[in-house]
């Protein structure tokens, strides 16, 4: 994005200011879409067994009979005070939901990124280096398939494959039962590390591997293609030709000159992949009964729990928007042309 003036602080300030209208827009859209959709938390929970007058009484008790404008302004006021309210269907504070379940989503997405980088970058590098070879074709096809295949399909296939081996295929709850892990950070992986129990750590790692791998596989497709294309482009660069002309070995040319430059756009894309990762996490969590925010979001959506859905989507939106701004800022730092 070209910005007149070119000052980095000014550019950063403008990007930060843009946060406010972006988040407001998301909040408003979520609020309206939920109200446009048929049903409400009361009919979702007990609509099939209580008479209309009792349903109405319950709606009144929840304040759902008030004018939409009043509800909307109240909602915006809450968010402005960093209060995301309480879920209507089970009275849980939304911030508590984020605290309790956010750790599972965090470890899932971080693990998936790790898998994606570990698989995606070397494979992309290999494909770029051996352009049009059999391995290049195979890796390209692999990249397309992993990106195109829906996460829940891949996930179910892996569950089917792994289920016969005794490897855990769902959730991360067993440490709570088997090892009585104390909740300290709400991030189970950290909690078991703090507990120092090697058994518990191994158990938690085992439970993480499959979901992280499946989501990571999905993300790796993007990295494979990106690294490959960028490597091919950098390999055509004058400075690479110059390096070759100086008699530098091809492996050094690739490692020291081409590869590093090929990774610059990848760093940008890693940030932008956050939104993709979060949406993938929702599906992955659902597939693996993973107790993260995505699973909670689906539950609350099914329950038409306006407050919880608004709160969780707001949280997701803030993360995506903030990361996008951070990416812009990093871009501006790395490449000064961006801010001019």
């Amino acid at each position: 994005m070209a910005v007149a003036g070119g000052s980095l602080p000014r550019y950063v300030g403008q990007r930060l200011l843009l946060l406010v209208p972006m988040i407001w827009l998301v909040l408003t859209l979520v609020f309206l879409l939920l109200r446009v959709a048929p049903g409400d938390p009361v009919s979702a929970a007990v609509g099939g067994r209580l008479a209309e007058d009792e349903l109405e009484r319950r709606r009144e008790a929840l304040g759902l009979d008030r004018p939409l404008v009043v509800q909307y302004l109240e909602y915006l006021g809450q968010v402005a005070r960093f209060d995301l309210g309480n879920a209507l269907s089970d009275n849980r504070p939304v911030l508590e939901i984020i605290q309790d379940n956010g750790g599972a989503t965090l470890t899932l997405t971080m693990g998936a990124f790790l898998f994606a980088l570990v698989f995606g970058i070397p494979l992309g590098l290999l494909a770029g280096r051996r352009r049009d070879s059999a391995s290049d074709v195979f890796i390209r096809v692999f990249g397309i398939v992993t990106y195109a295949a829906p996460v829940f399909v891949t996930g179910l296939l892996f569950v089917l494959l792994v289920s016969g081996t005794g490897w855990p295929t769902y959730d991360i709850a067993s440490p709570m039962t088997k090892f009585n892990t104390e909740t300290r950070t709400h991030i189970l992986l950290l909690d078991v590390l703090l507990s120092g129990s090697s058994e518990a750590i191994w158990d938690v790692v085992q439970h993480h591997l499959l979901p992280c791998f499946v989501l990571g596989l999905f993300l790796s497709g993007v990295f494979i293609r990106l690294v490959r294309v960028n490597l091919l482009q950098t390999l055509k660069g004058d400075y690479v030709e110059a390096a070759r002309a100086r008699g530098i070995a091809e492996k050094h040319v690739i490692r020291r000159h081409a590869f590093r430059n090929a990774l610059v756009p990848v760093i940008t894309v890693v940030g932008l992949q956050v939104a993709l990762t979060l949406s993938g996490a929702v599906l992955t969590e659902s597939t693996f009964n993973w107790p993260g925010l995505g699973t909670e979001l689906i539950d609350y959506l099914n329950a038409r729990d306006y407050a919880a859905v608004q709160g969780l989507v707001t949280f997701f939106a803030i993360i995506v928007v903030v990361v996008s701004v951070l990416v812009d800022i990093v871009n501006a730092l790395v490449d000064p042309r961006v801010r001019y």
Binding site: A37, P38, G39, P41, V42, S43, A44, A45, V46, G47, G48, R49, L50, A51, E52, E54, R57, R59, A61, S89, D90, N91, R92, I97, D100, N101, F119, F142, T146, L157, F158, V159, L160, L161, V162, S163, G164, T165, G166, W167, P168, T169, Y170, D171, A173, S174, M176, T177, K178, D203, Q206, L209, L210, F213, L217, S286, N289, P291, T295, R304
Partner: protein
């Protein structure tokens, strides 16, 4: 078969799978024993794990009205009465007995020496407090509405509704005669809470609840897991057979089926699809156990629509519907055809539809319509929702529609809507005939009559009959069993005659368990109370 599936999956997922699969080995954990803990139980059993797709709205009895919450509350709290497995009449639990002094007065005598798991005494004052707070909090997710007999016109608990003359006596003064009230005292909505722990005007946090039931809540992680520990201070007939029970919550049936297949949970209860159950029946590793159920599926006529205002049209549908075929083709035989709106086993139950209509017969249906002068084919719009009652309802709707169309007497169309929209549509007369389901709050025939028949029922189908309303009042007030059963039978006959709805099937109560589990089959009865305290796991 399992191996073949694995190979197919491997091919489909690609070569990278092998690297991960190679990591899995039997020592990796996740086996049934590991997943379930391995402590020795005070009753000689082991800890075990239940897997379920039910969820918990609130642990506090004043904040829930759903299977998942109620089943936790049955384990954590005591009620005055309790329904033993396989029986329909309640017996004393916290109370030695509860008896009618007259049709509007019930007196309960508590057992001596009852205590909550925190050591506090359980007295009649706690009982009064528990029921009054449930009514007064009137939580939007709660079941206080079931205690309407104790509420005044303002919706709050009447001051004179519950009397506690001494520590072990509780007297309930009802608004009107109600012979089902003692049964209500066995439901989780009447769970007894500690008045020194629970606030009177708001819900208590989920992980803070304290009761006097066979288990106490040890750990609770919302949406994931409940850990129950045997309550050592419990002194009653429902002592826990295992030191710990883990309840693992699943979001979907797929992972639940996978978990029980691989032994990661010991018992799977509610809700596996008929297809899943059929698959599992062929497995050597688990046992599919069926018990009687009380889930009810039915088709309601919207009498606000001209097409079905003529009773002959409704009777013709009742004459044509082939419930056996619906049960077999749409549900793989996992449900039982329903010929009454009251399930078998309930006092006064009779198969009135079977008696009146006999076998499905298009000829008789034609005769009914001809005699009434109804022009055929009659156009009917059938409605159903694919998002609330399971995936098989579409098969049921299609089958019923085909049966009616193939008779030549009806020209049917099927419409579907997502559950939320469906509720609005059926009340707005969008369908002539629409499908609904029901689980009882209490095991009493009235729970299948009053909500359905009085003044259009809760589903507002515009059916109204003074005779029915009067009979409902009479059966609720009748304390003599045989006389009440007679009234209930009469009501079923009227339903078969007037056909405001057509019963379709009754569900079974089904669980899947590993061979080490004991007591699962015994608890599978129409109450849908999963008596965790009666289940144990052998070594």
């Amino acid at each position: 078969v399992k191996r073949t599936r694995g190979i197919l999956a491997a091919v489909s997922a690609g070569v990278l799978m092998t690297s991960l699969a190679a990591c899995g080995d039997d020592s990796g954990g996740g086996s049934a024993d590991e997943g379930s803990g391995n402590d020795s139980g005070s009753g000689g059993g082991e800890a075990w794990t239940l897997g379920t797709t039910e969820s918990i709205t609130a642990m506090d009895p004043a904040g829930s009205y759903d299977f998942g919450s109620w089943n936790m509350q049955y384990s954590i709290f005591q009620q005055l009465m309790s329904v033993p497995a396989g029986e329909s009449e309640p017996v004393g639990d916290a109370a030695e007995s509860c008896d009618y002094d007259d049709p509007t007065t019930v007196t309960c005598t508590l057992r001596d020496g009852l205590t909550f798991s925190n050591g506090n005494e359980l007295t009649s004052s706690d009982v009064k407090f528990s029921l009054e707070r449930n009514i007064n909090i009137a939580d939007p997710n709660g079941s206080g509405v079931l205690l309407a007999q104790l509420a005044g016109e303002d919706g709050k608990a009447r001051a004179d509704a519950i009397e506690t003359p001494d520590d072990t006596t509780v007297t309930f003064n009802l608004n009107s005669p109600d012979t089902t009230f003692v049964k209500l005292l066995s439901t989780a909505t009447t769970s007894i809470v500690d008045e020194e722990t629970f606030p009177g005007d708001e819900l208590l946090g989920d992980d803070e609840v304290v009761g006097s039931g066979p288990f106490k809540l040890s750990q609770y992680k919302e949406g994931e897991q409940v850990v129950l520990e045997a309550n050592e201070s419990y002194d009653g007939d429902k002592s826990a057979q295992a030191p710990q029970v883990f309840v693992q919550f699943f979001k979907d049936t797929g992972p639940l089926k996978e978990a029980i297949s691989s032994g990661q949970v010991d018992v799977a209860w509610r809700t596996l699809s008929p297809t899943d159950l059929n698959d599992l029946e062929g497995s050597d590793d688990v046992e599919v156990i069926e018990g009687e159920g009380s889930e009810f599926r039915y088709w309601v006529f919207q009498l606000g629509n001209e097409e079905v205002q003529d009773v002959a049209v409704r009777q013709a549908v009742a004459q044509i519907i082939d419930r056996e075929t619906i049960a077999e083709d749409a549900y793989d035989g996992t449900v039982t055809p329903a010929y009454s709106i009251v399930p078998p086993g309930f006092g006064g139950q009779k198969d009135s539809f079977q008696e009146k209509y006999g076998e499905p017969d298009v000829g008789k249906a034609k005769q009914i319509l001809d005699e009434a002068g109804v022009e055929t084919p009659v156009e009917l719009t059938l409605g159903y929702t694919p998002t609330h009652y399971g995936p098989n309802l579409v098969d049921e709707a299609t089958e019923l529609s085909n049966q009616l169309s193939e008779s030549g007497l009806f020209e049917t169309s099927i419409e579907q809507a997502e559950w939320e929209q469906y509720q609005t549509l059926y009340k707005k007369n969008a369908y002539d005939l629409f499908a609904l389901g029901w689980y009882p709050d209490i095991l009493d025939a009235d729970n299948y009559l009053t909500p359905f028949l009085r003044d259009g029922g809760f589903y507002s189908n515009n059916y109204s009959s003074d005779e029915v309303n009067e009979l409902l009042d009479q059966e609720l007030a009748e304390t003599e069993t045989s006389a009440r059963d007679e009234l209930i039978s009469q009501l079923q006959d009227i339903v078969a005659e007037d056909v405001p709805l057509v019963p379709s099937w009754f569900g079974k109560n089904v669980a899947v368990a590993t061979p080490q589990m004991n007591g699962v089959g015994e608890t599978l009865d129409p109450t849908y109370i999963f008596r965790l305290w009666e289940i144990s796991k052998s070594s």
